[in-house]
């Protein structure tokens, strides 16, 4: 998908999406850490937003760094 030089590769969009959504999940995790929800979900004590959101951000950065050779 890079024959046209100006066109961004798909991995750029995937990375952007994961960073933005992962960032939102991670920030929500920080908020929930200090302000836990009244109705707990199962295993909420493991703070899944924090580690899963973090994993998404790291993976998203990795995708942004991919050099697509077409």
């Amino acid at each position: 998908m890079t024959e046209n030089k100006a066109m961004k590769p798909i991995w750029f969009f995937v990375g952007l999406m994961l960073i933005v959504v992962g960032g939102l999940v991670f920030l929500t995790g920080i908020y929930l850490y200090f302000n836990p929800e009244s109705a707990h979900t199962v295993l909420s004590n493991t703070y899944p937003n924090l580690w899963w959101g973090g994993i998404m951000i790291v993976f998203g950065i990795f995708m942004l760094l991919i050099k697509d050779e077409g």
Partner: protein, 553 residues
């Protein structure tokens, strides 16, 4: 159960997804200048892009929810759909069939039928494919609205129209290219949005070994209980799995269904096209770690009185499809709920885009250009592709409203593929590998097979014949009947095609060069290192498949 509640941040994530896919549609429009850009994404994708799109076109939310529910109902036998029911066919497509498809420079699967046989076989397949695609697309749309209404309390009409219009906009703008982009984004959203369910389930229950030890034996194996259908959850014999699912349904879908094969046609060269399904096979094999593991987790929790986990019931019947949404509600706090819902929405919408992009191509090339307007210019065909996209969406919405008024239509979903794809696989197999198969043999064989499959479905549905007559066993589930019906339809197509070919005019061998094995010189491309050879990766995929089947025997 009350509806799954969404907070502001969940809505924000969902809204971001809609903005994102629409933005991609507008962004890619400037690169969509010719009909090849619109219908085949410019034929410039590498095997990673084409491979992930190839897999994702099949990875709809309905399938994810349905297969998780099926695991709850049938146990680990559902993994057969992902392993023996997919991998051999994908590898066969990459190694043996793709050279004929790709080298013929065709734009669609019916296009191959035209070159190999004749116009009437092409049109028969094109019309049945277009009909099947719109039917599936409409039923999917209805199912999506139903899921969103049941679990989130969303308005039926609003959610259906919002997603249909979004898909219409981005596919109309940039065709297959935007469909492929959004399918790949969906692939990652599904993994990040749904794999967490399995991880949380493992944490709650203890370990994967603990999960396997807490389900009945009939639910925990793949083959050891397949000799006697009364001993396994799916009530099917190994013969039904191997012949019906592993051979006919699987090969019929993965090697001839234009919805998935179109992604491989978008590859930049023959090696990338051959690598497309082979690469996808690795990702297909790991999907049971979402769906099967999720279904087993739901099964264990539902049978543990202390867990508080119960599937929904609808009129006294268990709603198996509720397993995955209920696990999301169980484990996902605010924010993650938005991600989980977005993953399901992305699955629905990408599936919709896949159906529509395949429909607009088959309509434009194999029906409109072939029958209605043979002299259409390139620009006119590009315009027609966009018109077909909008028309396809409108017809899908109409079908969805029809499905709403007739909910039993959902029962037909599984059967639709065996009406069209199972016979087509016999036609394709004979066409590519036996040079003396004639155009009339192919046409009458295909027509007879489709009519047979549909008739068997109706006959069993209305109890004109017992289900066990076609499954050759004393007990049989609907799924087992589906596998066996596909096998009989394939066999009848195969035999009729051969018999009619004995008595009808053959095509000149010269016309078949490049289309049939045996008449086509094996192309020896420039030498590539072992790690770039499709054959190497196909063997590796096969080894992993064998290992998984032996490990879970």
């Amino acid at each position: 159960m009350g509806n799954i509640g969404l907070t502001l941040v969940d809505w924000l994530i969902i809204a971001l997804y809609f903005v994102f896919v629409l933005g991609i549609g507008f962004y890619l429009k400037r690169y969509t200048k010719s009909q090849e850009d619109f219908f085949l994404a410019g034929r410039k994708n590498n095997s990673w892009v084409a491979g992930l799109a190839f897999l994702s076109a099949n990875l709809g939310a309905l399938e994810l929810m349905g297969m998780t529910g099926n695991t709850f109902k049938y146990g680990m036998y559902v993994a057969h759909f992902y392993w023996i029911g997919a991998i051999p066919a994908m590898l066969f497509l990459g190694i043996y069939m793709m050279p004929f498809y790709y080298s013929a420079r065709i734009k669609s699967v019916p296009g191959y039928l035209k070159l190999r046989f004749d116009e009437k076989t092409r049109v028969l397949n094109a019309v049945s494919f277009a009909f099947m695609t719109l039917l599936v697309s409409g039923i999917n749309l209805y199912a999506m609205a139903l899921v969103l209404h049941t679990f989130l309390g969303w308005n039926w009409d609003a959610s259906m129209w919002a997603s249909a219009l979004t898909v219409a906009v981005y596919v109309t703008l940039s065709g297959l290219m935007s469909a492929i982009f959004t399918e790949i984004i969906q692939f990652f959203l599904i993994w990040f949005g749904l794999f967490l369910v399995s991880i949380m389930g493992i944490i709650e229950i203890g370990s994967v070994q603990e999960i396997l030890s807490r389900i009945p034996e009939s639910f925990a194996t793949l083959w050891s209980t397949s000799a006697d259908p009364s001993q396994n959850g799916m009530m099917v014999t190994w013969g039904g799995i191997v012949l019906g699912l592993g051979f006919v349904l699987s090969f019929g879908y993965w090697t001839t269904d234009f919805l998935v094969v179109q992604r491989a046609f978008s590859a930049k060269d023959l090696r990338s096209a051959r690598m497309t399904p082979i690469l996808a096979s690795f990702f297909k094999m790991i999907l049971p770690f979402i769906v099967v593991l999720g279904g087993l987790i739901a099964y264990i929790l539902a049978h543990d009185p202390g867990s508080g986990f119960r599937l929904l019931t609808d009129g006294g019947k268990i709603n198996y499809d509720s397993a995955l949404p209920l696990l999301i509600a169980r484990y996902y706090p605010t924010g993650l709920i938005g991600l989980g819902v977005t993953a399901l929405l992305a699955g629905f919408m990408a599936g919709q885009a896949g159906n529509i992009s395949a429909f607009n191509t088959v309509w434009t090339y194999d029906i409109y250009h072939s029958v209605i307007n043979k002299k259409a210019s390139d620009d006119h065909l590009l315009w027609m592709g966009r018109v077909a996209t909008v028309a396809g969406i409108i017809l899908s919405v109409g079908t969805a409203y029809w499905a709403k008024s007739m909910p039993t239509i959902m029962d037909y979903m599984q059967a639709i593929f065996s009406w069209v794809n199972a016979p087509l696989f016999a036609t394709m197999l004979l066409g590519m590998f036996v040079w003396w198969i004639t155009p009339n043999g192919a046409f009458w064989g295909l027509l007879t097979g489709m009519v047979t499959s549909f008739s068997l479905f109706i006959a069993v549905k209305f109890d004109w014949i017992p289900k066990t007559l076609i499954t050759l066993s004393d007990v049989a589930s609907d799924m087992a009947a589906n596998f066996w019906r596909a096998w009989w339809a394939w066999l009848i197509t195969f035999l009729v095609t051969i018999i009619v070919s004995f008595f009808t005019r053959k095509k000149d061998e010269k016309e078949l060069v490049g289309l049939v094995k045996g008449l086509t010189e094996e192309t020896v491309g420039k030498p590539v290192p072992l790690l770039k050879k499709p054959e190497f990766w196909a063997v590796l995929s096969l080894i992993i498949l064998i290992f998984l089947n032996v490990y879970f025997w």
